[in-house]
Symmetry: D2
Subunit: 268 residues, 4 copies
């Protein structure tokens, strides 16, 4: 990048002086503390305005649906990290968040991208035949490339992922446009037909769809999972502090993993 | 640790089957989605029950007060990381969170620990002279050891940190016991006197105090900052995507930092 | 994954008992300490055997070429993180490593993948016309897709990246096959011609090529950058401890970034 | 920090222009590539000069002794992270490094600090009685405070940690002063006597001692572990790619951890 084209250093998020902290135009102390919840604040970060009540309900529900899923790989990574560095709770949570990649929350991003790259001419929003055509083309592209269609399929939650259905219901009940939901369901139907398998729309699919309706760019939709899971991971660290399991898990895994070598040696 | 004393692998946070996800006894789909916000969910993670309305207000306010403070060192670290690895939003946020150590949110922990290690016999809660005595002993220990008293002092927000006052006000208005607030203010007064300096109770001091009142162990109080700042950092990544500044900041810093060597060379 | 197909927990890297630690068949104390250097140990990790002298020279040179490049975005991220969490040197280095993504060391991976996905039938290794054909097809695919050809181009080091030329020279001098170097140079020539621009093979291109010759799978070639830069980042933390700059960089960036808002306020 | 006292932005590590990269005064291409190994480069980062042959042997041996110890908690955390984010090898390695805290490599730091804070008047270096006195005072302070003496004790490697003995032997054979080794051994003897337990000097104790002799400040001695383990963790990611175990470990841990709840439900 040449000196000329280098962008200026400018941020519009927040400023402060001795008396005030102002975030996206809202005085933190007078307008936000005691008045908005953490999810609403996340909405403010992403949409640069506070949500109305309906938006708050749906946005918080998306976050809450992602915050906790028990002893997942990332919860386990966080706990193992805490075992080695109990002085750095932030490091343990960071380790857990680092696993929120393409395998898990990346599917929010994949769904959102697939929907956001659907044809710009919007006839499919009002014309069922056009929607069917768009959905078929999208689904068949993934199938032809032998790539999984993002946002559908789940190893456990089938034939439906109850979280997805609940989120779509909340979105509709709160007045959000359902075009992307309909498009995703049409894609799902084609994919199920072509692959001859049960492929429920999963929770990340629903979130990719609803966040697209809300106007969130796919490039940061993974951030919803990051915001939410940070909350859940702190809970895991607290449980690890009270009721530690990381050392036992590690000890058992190690013993099992190297048994073939240690035994070899003990007979050598 | 011998085999015998190794603790069992057990987690009480969540379980799921094909139809349900249950978190601390609450059905995710039926009881939580659409009904609780992300801050309430954080309360559930830390206290194993949902907050009532007052607790929700105060707990969310603590989180919101920590979520965003503009172009801080950790926001900058997150943006610089995103510059190199835009495919890993989670890595950029993790990099930002890693800076939430002793210098910044660690003071929540320090305050909470100081208060939680105050004498167990609770006469100071009801007896002003006892409180004064306890506060004096605590403050003088820090002063004697030339260690900063945690939770007081701020480079910019003085004579008062408006966030701290607002949080204490919310806590009182919502019926929380104010013993720890009174103890912290008494410690502050002694410290200001001994050090002859203006040392406002800062936002992390107020949070260390209020979270102690709520029953949060000091070992995880840093987690409040981690939960909250994860939300803010996603906002910084979104702004970096739309309006990038990391490369300019880095370029300027590097140019300035190595000028003495490059010039030396160019004359060589 | 069904219970049946789940792979066993097995690791072949290392085992230990009270007297010995054995790594890939080598006794750590008797065979490795004092006999191999850290780069050789990295070779052992990746190739499951120790390098001969030639391999050691080339492999270490690749690592050393990546270890340090001054005040890069990742060095700056590490220093900013250390400012907030000086108790966690590991967190600061981790923050720095998190920036080693697609933008920077990811190009090692891109180059390695491009070369490793070149036609399996190996006539191009001995037949100049076949090589030209393969190179043309590869380069034109990238150009047609408007994707940058990995491993070529550099904003500063041109017309040649001296590190790349040195690494290729060392590889040849140490008896490594030069087929992939020739293929990459042919790809470069086509790309320069089609794009009408100077596009030197850069250091990550050379490493992607040489590591492919050595037999390293592209999926982990980014690991060479991670191994190396961890070493350099510790050096930056040491300098930050002795001669801190992070706070000044942050302060200047923040002041500049929010000036338009703070001014607005001061006139309000 | 006031504007006046804010330190200048200056780095002395490296600079580059189109033709050259110069690191601590050495031309990367001409003086380092093909001539120094990765461990030597680490020495250059920490001591601002290249090691002589003896220093290179000892320094590399310290790093190699820390690089790999099988399926440790941090190796497991790295693999679990890779499971979720296979696109970010750097994230998986970073997650692993985040566990290098006080529990494990922090003991290097503890040992180094204990030795570096020993009395500055150096009679103990030449006077056996003074050494005994200093050692007794240090050991008894830890014992009185019920804090573990850093650098001694090991759950598996006893009565001696063979790595520690080998490292001390290499240090002596390569002409390093052995004052700190003697001081640490005297501390160990007192601690064993007072605590009536076998407490071998462990590998991190030896490294804390030798790195102190070399002149490394305790604040960054943890960095030796970080440099080294980054190398080992890349090896674990490669094995995870070829022979994955993270999912099985997680699945087994989760099943075991939540069995008490799921069973409860199935009878409900």
């Amino acid at each position: 990048m040449s000196e000329r084209t280098r962008p200026p250093v400018r941020s519009d998020i927040a400023w402060s002086n001795a008396e005030r902290i102002v975030i996206r135009g809202h005085d933190l102390v007078d307008d936000l503390l005691g008045k908005v919840d953490l999810g609403d604040f996340g909405f403010l970060e992403l949409f640069h305005r506070l949500p109305d009540e309906s938006e708050s309900t749906v946005f918080n529900a998306m976050l809450v649906s992602l915050a906790e899923h028990g002893l997942t790989p990332n919860a386990l990574a966080a706990r193992l990290t805490y075992l080695g560095a109990p002085e750095s709770l932030q490091g343990a949570v960071a380790a857990g968040l680092l696993g929120l990649g393409t395998t898990f929350v990346g599917t929010i991003e994949g769904t959102a991208r697939m929907l956001q790259e659907a044809p710009a001419q919007e006839t499919w929003r009002s014309d069922q035949a056009a929607l069917q055509q768009v959905a078929t083309r999208i689904a068949e592209e993934f199938v032809a490339a032998r790539r999984p269609v993002p946002g559908i399929g789940h190893p456990i939650h089938k034939p439906v992922d109850p979280r997805a259905e609940r989120l779509f219901g909340l979105a509709r009940d709160n007045g959000l446009d359902d075009s992307y939901e309909r498009l995703l369901r049409a894609i799902q139907a084609v994919a199920q037909d072509r692959l001859d398998r049960e492929l429920p729309i999963n929770v990340t699919g629903a979130i990719g769809s609803i966040s697209t309706t809300m106007g969130l760019r796919w490039q940061v939709s993974r951030g919803l999972g990051v915001m939410a899971r940070a909350v859940g991971l702190v809970g895991h660290i607290l449980e690890e502090l009270d009721q530690p399991i990381a050392q036992t898990v590690q000890y058992d895994a190690e013993k099992r993993a190297v048994a073939h070598m240690v035994e070899g040696d003990s007979h050598g």
